[in-house]
């Protein structure tokens, strides 16, 4: 339940102000816009602009900083930012090297980012978009481009940001972001819904002894309901689903991220991860720098998602490349 706020209508504005006040050493507010950007944008490099509704911290603003995203456009809780705000943020950071938009594939985000992109293109800017579509629960195989983006967001942002930071051109940043997305799969479960600021009831409830399969990161209920199970069976459920959907050309090296949605806490995630890890090794996979943390949350929703990114020799160094952001730093 969201409890700390003043007027719910001011939530986004106060959140941005507080965030920039806390992390002013790394980020700055985009003047006159609902967004934040790196302190020193580099006009000769591709600008990677991410964004979406609020309520997913560290996504999106927590991933802005050298080596990761150039800027984040911040909507209200669970609402895509408007095209106007996307446009303003783009104008503030775009340089000659062009712009990559990357965000989860949701109707509202696509509509608003697309309108901003058209406006920027009309002004002569080179803007590309890579939608994140990692959630296997949201559309069947063969319709991958219909899928929504959940925790896989992080991998696509990280690799695109690393590519841009080392000076790759826009074609290359776009290609690597597309490739990362194509090789990322996620699946999640939820145990309880979250409550929006100012509201009393959660967005959905889960009966005792049940869990929701195929969560969304906006408090949407799952795609189906199943029986709650011990951690080791949850690990198998997550992995059975993901391993039934291995992307084309996947090798045996895989980055793995177990993401907490908000109130399924770290200790539980580690207990679950124990079995995830064992099983991945038993499947003959080589694991690259696992992450067990809250990476893309859904307010205080209870649940978690597991993401796999099948790496190769060109993606692995991008994942490992240094970055410094409020929420994620590689030294």
């Amino acid at each position: 339940m969201t409890r700390l706020y003043n007027d719910p209508a001011d939530f986004r504005e106060e959140l941005i102000e507080g965030f920039v006040a806390a992390y002013g050493r790394l980020v700055q507010r985009v003047p006159n816009a609902s967004g934040v950007m790196v302190r020193a944008p580099q006009p000769d490099k591709v600008a990677v602009i991410i964004g979406g509704g609020s309520g997913h911290y560290p996504a999106f603003c927590g991933y802005v900083g050298p080596g990761l995203a150039t800027a984040a456009v911040m909507g209200n809780i669970f609402s895509a930012p408007s095209a106007e705000q996307v446009y303003r943020v783009t104008k503030a950071v775009a340089g000659a090297a062009g712009v990559l938009y990357s965000y989860g594939n949701y109707s509202g985000d696509v509509l608003n980012f697309d309108m901003a992109q058209m406006r920027c293109e009309d002004e002569g800017m080179d803007v590309r978009t890579v939608l994140v579509t990692d959630d296997v629960a949201s559309a069947p195989r063969g319709q991958e481009e219909e899928r929504r983006g959940i925790a896989g967001d992080f991998y696509v942002f990280k690799l695109a940001g690393a590519s841009a930071a080392r000076g790759d051109n826009l074609d290359e940043v776009e290609r690597l972001a597309l490739k990362t997305n194509a090789r990322t799969r996620s699946f999640g479960v939820a145990f309880a819904g979250c409550t929006l600021p100012g509201q009393r009831a959660p967005l959905f409830t889960v009966d005792a002894g049940q869990m929701e399969l195929g969560l969304g990161v906006h408090g949407e209920p799952g795609i189906s309901t199943g029986e709650m199970r011990p951690a080791r069976e949850v690990a198998d459920l997550l992995l059975d689903t993901l391993l039934a959907d291995v992307p084309e050309g996947a090798g045996s090296r895989v980055a793995v991220m177990l993401n907490g949605l908000g109130s399924t806490k770290y200790e539980e995630l580690f207990v679950l991860y124990k079995d995830v890890h064992r099983r991945l090794l038993a499947e003959g996979l080589e694991l690259h720098d696992p992450i067990v943390n809250e990476m893309v949350t859904s307010l205080d929703m209870a649940g978690c998602s597991l993401s796999l990114l099948w790496l190769d020799d060109e993606l692995a160094p991008l994942l490992d490349a240094p970055c410094t952001t409020p929420a994620y730093t590689i030294g």
Partner: protein, 218 residues
């Protein structure tokens, strides 16, 4: 009223419409949130209220024709609301304003403008009637409005007479499986609840009918 007589009168109707819309949608904010939560993210009520507040603020002191006011209101709505409905409903309002321009503001002109706005929503959202969206209120409404225009109805009467078609259309979304927007991912789970965007559109259309009446009374 048969048509908006003067520029001032038409501007007044726009302001009245937005004020009525905010009141009506505000009354139903929780209901719209609940409908959205059933298969989406629960923010449709707050999103619409936020957008309508901004739209009202934008026209308070604005100058220009009724069409210009609407265009500005739509832009303000989009920016403040965000989300899918911010983009779509804002674009709908803006397009109507652009088409109406300096008038005339009679039923045929409004029919044409709302048609244009609706087409633009369908194009932007890549949606068709039956996909469980705002279009499922707008499409039957337009058909009914066209019939009223063909029969030579006045603006106020024709508009009001077309409202039940919109409401039936919105109610019918209960039996539809979402194919666009957030709830599309839920597939069959979206059955049994009306589409929040279609329901809020009915409030916008009804608020306009009331604005036409009150402006006619004045």
């Amino acid at each position: 009223m048969t048509r908006m007589e003067s520029t001032t009168n038409a501007q007044q109707v726009v302001r009245l419409w937005l004020a009525n819309a905010l009141a009506l949608v505000g009354e139903h904010e929780e209901e719209l949130g609940r409908l959205d939560a059933a298969a989406g993210d629960g923010d449709h009520g707050t999103t619409m209220v936020r957008g309508l507040r901004a739209a009202n603020a934008a026209v308070t002191d604005a100058k220009g024709s009724a069409g210009e006011l609407l265009a500005q209101a739509g832009a303000a709505f989009s920016d403040a609301a965000g989300g899918a409905s911010g983009a779509l409903v804002g674009m709908w309002i803006t397009t109507i304003g652009q088409r109406l321009g300096d008038g005339p503001y009679d039923l045929p002109a409004l029919l044409e403008a709302v048609q244009a706005g609706t087409n633009r929503v369908a194009r932007l959202g890549k949606a068709q009637p039956g996909d469980k969206t705002v279009l499922d209120a707008l499409t039957p409404f337009l058909a009914a409005l066209e019939a009223q225009a063909a029969a030579g109805a006045s603006l106020g009467d024709g508009w009001r007479a077309a409202l039940p078609a919109a409401e039936q259309g919105a109610a019918a979304t209960r039996e539809m499986v979402a194919r666009r927007g957030r709830s599309a991912k839920l597939g069959e789970r979206s059955l049994g609840h009306a589409d929040p965007g279609a329901v809020s559109m009915c409030y916008l259309l009804r608020a306009a009918a009331d604005a036409f009446d009150r402006a006619g009374d004045e």
